[in-house]
Symmetry: C2
Subunit: 276 residues, 2 copies
């Protein structure tokens, strides 16, 4: 693992790191904020998964998480959203597929199956690296994310029972397997058989019996993706049927941007802190 940069911030350290990933077959970059409490012993770790088009950097710059992470003594890990590099299959002019659009799944279709293995990367490879390199207590993990990363956070929590003590999301894609902006990606990554898509769809995973105890979601009412792409009511319905305690906050007038995310970042980190 190579250190790209470190800066002192809120008495902790915001770092950016790079490593050769076996899962994705390329160099991957990620950000870690280590709070000041880590000087006294291992701290809980909270994973933040970003949305379409983002790298590790967007939320690091605009998410305003450090103040709250330092207050509660939690490390925040911000991975990239896809494999990167000139040799990675891509559709340069398509923001909903390829670079920046890994959808936190393991692709099965050529030529994408070789590199687009973000589920394995986020669930296995990166946690092992973080556990080895940072002063974190891996028995206390939480996960959250935004949009495509909200989908990623919820699906990873559903599929790894017991791993995460807390899960939340900002404006998650509730049912990517039926949403117009994600269906084409799912087909390219996973093939035409939609049965395989269920393993990467929050609402369908719940329908298939996967569970988390509780879930916090914030969603802006002025979000331009609300009705076609995000559709939190599908998650609400799935949670209701499954008996999952969903707290869904519809935030009047908020959009899909980091102006929205940063506003409610403190609430989410407090939610995780209470459970970590």
């Amino acid at each position: 693992m190579e250190t790209v940069s470190t800066s002192r911030s809120f008495e902790g350290v915001q770092g950016v790191y790079r490593h050769a990933s076996e899962a994705t077959g390329c160099d991957m970059t990620f950000a870690v904020f280590v709070p000041p409490q880590a000087a006294k012993g291992p701290v809980p770790v909270l994973w933040y998964l970003s949305g379409l088009t983002c790298t590790h950097q967007n939320v690091m710059d605009k998410g305003e998480y450090r103040r709250h992470a330092a207050e509660h003594g939690i490390a925040i890990v911000c991975p990239d959203t896809s494999p990167r590099g000139a040799d990675i299959p891509d559709e340069k002019d398509n923001w909903q597929f390829g670079s920046g659009a890994g959808f936190y799944l393991d692709a099965t279709e050529a030529p994408f199956a070789r590199n687009y293995r973000m589920a394995t990367y986020i669930a296995e490879e990166l946690p092992a690296l973080v556990a080895a390199q940072f002063p974190v207590d891996m028995t206390r993990q939480g996960i959250f994310g935004h949009s495509m990363g909200g989908h990623g956070a919820i699906t990873l929590a559903l599929k790894n029972p017991g791993r995460f003590k807390s899960v939340s999301a900002f404006a998650p894609i509730a049912q990517p397997s039926t949403a117009g902006w994600s269906r084409p990606a799912f087909e390219k990554y996973l093939g035409a058989d939609e049965a395989a898509w269920r393993a990467y769809d929050s609402t369908l995973l719940i329908e298939d019996g996967h569970r988390v105890d509780e879930l916090l979601v914030d969603q802006g009412t002025a979000d331009s993706f609300l009705n076609d792409g995000l559709r939190p009511w599908l998650l609400e319905e799935a949670c209701r049927k499954a008996g999952i305690a969903l707290t869904l906050n519809m935030r009047e007038g908020y959009d899909h941007s980091y102006f929205f995310i940063s506003t409610f970042m403190g609430d989410h980190i407090r939610w995780h802190a209470d459970r970590l």
Copy 2:
């Protein structure tokens, strides 16, 4: 004035606006955060001047000011750092002159004197526009900034006595007329006669009798520009001689980035709120 974008954030509104500027002879873009308290009546206004290479956007994205502005009920205005556009004289490969490097002065030398009139723009034209277009109380203004913008904030406060009830800076350029990274710009904008440069130099303005009551400065000890470009001890010495109450916080391990600025943004906005 044209609205470029607005987003709800921290129950207020973060907007970006554009207007044809007479002072700079081009379209200028700026950001304004209006806090929720403005719904009940005019709020104080705090000017944030950015550093070299920045536009209005850097601090808007990375400064983490909205939480504190909303808490204290203060509007934050973030202007650009120079005139912009294809017709503006520039040195494209020089980050210390031209675009992004207006130094908050009024140039007197051709061909720069036509457009590089940021002192007039920030002190006269933009305040008139902001007063007319936003729910602000112009009898309660404060000003702060970073690096070149710290220089701008302090010089504007010194030269406009009574205008600003509070002034502070993150890592300001204390004496730009003698610093290597600003001397060439001063010469191109203001000519070879260094007497004219004194009007845009914090320490020399103080030496020449200009005053503010008090001044808050935060400076990171790991700032790579500390010894050659910033030199807060020159400001300390000038303030000491002039009897200006300077609070200079040397922040151990902090660098010149927004990771530093955002850490102490809350302290600065509280400082201004107490005086507005």
